[in-house]
Amino acid sequence: MIVQNETSRGTDLDESPPDFETTFRLHYPRIVYAIARVVGDAACAEELAVEVFWKFWRNPRIPRDKAGGWLYRTAIRLGIHELRRRARHARYQRLLRLAGPQTPEEIRAGDEKQEQVRRVLSAIKPRDAELLLLQSDEFRYEEIASALDLNFASVGTLVSRARLAFRKEYTKLYGEPRL
């Protein structure tokens, strides 16, 4: 999934745009899809994708040859942060009784599988969620290790632990899954 030997990134969009723009055009759709997958909201995904590229543009220390991995990891991370932020917001609303009774639409959405999975992803450790999302995006172990700065040898173990953590959290929230 990671594009190797990518074009180098420019420091200024107006002054030396080709490098950055090429990288941008190459990765932007994938980044939006990756975030949309996590947050389930196209508009929010585009918003966060712009944020990802802004960070990329402003940070000169990102290695040029690892732009793809860095962008993908940051995108997933921002997506997970957004999920966690929403979960926190919902929790506070409940605590402060700001939210009225749930609408039928909300109840139905809560029962949907996607919503359940997102809730579980926002509850487990961010690193576990990142591992699961990258793996489900068909990243190879060496690519996951590169994107998350992990030791290649330990990726398998970490993924197994992340799967267990996911299952455990799901069981805690929704009961034993029907396998």
Binding site: D12, L13, D14, E21, F24, R25, Y28, P29, V32, Y33, A36, R37, V38, G40, A42, A45, E46, A49, V50, F53, W54, W57, K113, Q114, Q116, V117, R118, V120, L132, L133, S136, R163, F166, R167, Y170, P177, L179
Partner: protein, 317 residues
């Protein structure tokens, strides 16, 4: 058999989890618009640049205000400080354990008047010829006088004006004109006085055409007027003939050597006499140099008694 069940269970679990994560795949509603996003990034960058520019200008403004705040109390301190315009001089001193520390010089105003008469005796650090000012018009009195008074002043220093108004005329009358003392005027413009150097240029330019004393006295006498606006020219015009004034203006405008005499005096005051305030008078007799700071605070009677004692001692010797 149990092992087989465990593997089967794991496989089912993996399949279930993969199904969970695959359910997240976005529908066809997600249509990324790269062009729009790129425009947003450019706008964001432009906004950041504007913010940066504002920040830079604000910082520069604040820095300028800070410097002004630091300088204004200094300027005020000139008028408020009894006896001298201070120039803060950072000196490096060695402490007992060999560590070098930077200390700011103390105000000489804190010293009692009596201590001025036992002022620090500076060893002669250069041959007498080095002590001659660059411009001879700054020397008044007999070249063979046993004592030389070297007065370091700043034309914008209020205490220098007091010294020139109250003390100098009497010393001129009683000691300089009678050949007992030679008087040397040295320029020591302090950085906190913006017009002091210009005033020194006018006085030195007048010196070049033979009117040094007249113009120097006029500049000190009208200090209150020109020190607010820098209008030295208008005050000097009052005491010079139009032709002379024209020549002074030409010299002030074009003659670079006028600054050289000031630079030499400042170097002399800094390196040899270690000045940190004006007015300071250095009394030279033979090879000895005694620096008396806060010269304006000493009453005339103290000056007279001091000079008389000094002259008597030299005569007896």
């Amino acid at each position: 058999m149990a092992n087989h069940d465990f593997e089967n269970n794991n496989l089912l679990n993996d399949r279930w989890l993969n199904g969970c994560l695959e359910s997240l795949t976005p529908g066809r509603s997600v249509v990324p618009d790269a062009g729009k996003a790129l425009t947003r990034l450019r706008e964001r960058n432009r906004a950041r640049r504007i913010a940066m520019r504002r920040w830079t200008w604000t910082s520069a403004g604040l820095a300028a205000a800070g410097i002004a705040v630091l300088l204004v109390p200094n300027a005020r301190a000139c008028a408020e400080q009894p006896g001298a315009c201070m120039q803060k001089v950072w000196k490096t001193v060695s402490t007992h354990n060999g560590v070098h520390e930077r200390v700011v010089s103390q105000s000489p105003a804190a010293l009692p008047i009596a201590s001025h008469l036992s002022a620090r005796l500076l060893p002669a650090q250069a041959s007498p010829s080095t002590f001659r000012p660059h411009a001879l018009y700054k020397e008044i009195g007999s070249p063979t006088a046993p004592i030389t008074l070297e007065a370091y002043t700043d034309y914008q220093c209020p205490w220098c004006a007091v010294f020139f108004r109250n003390i100098v005329p009497q010393i001129m009358e009683q000691y300089v004109r009678t050949g007992k003392v030679k008087f040397v005027h040295r320029d020591f413009p302090l950085p906190l006085h913006p017009y002091a150097r210009l005033a020194a240029r006018y006085a030195n330019a007048a010196g070049e055409i033979g009117h040094y004393e007249l113009v120097a006295n006029q500049i000190f006498a009208t200090q209150d007027i020109w020190s607010k606006t820098g209008g030295i020219d208008a005050e000097v015009t009052k005491v010079l003939a139009p032709g002379d004034m024209q020549r002074v203006r030409q010299l002030v405008k074009n003659d670079d050597s006028l600054d050289e005499t000031v630079i030499r005096d400042v170097a002399m005051g800094t390196n040899t006499d270690h000045l940190n305030s004006t007015p300071t008078v250095v009394i030279v007799s033979g090879d000895a140099r005694e620096a008396i700071s806060n010269a304006a605070t000493l009453p005339l009677s103290v000056w007279q008694s001091y000079l008389d004692t000094k002259l008597a001692g030299l005569a007896a010797h």
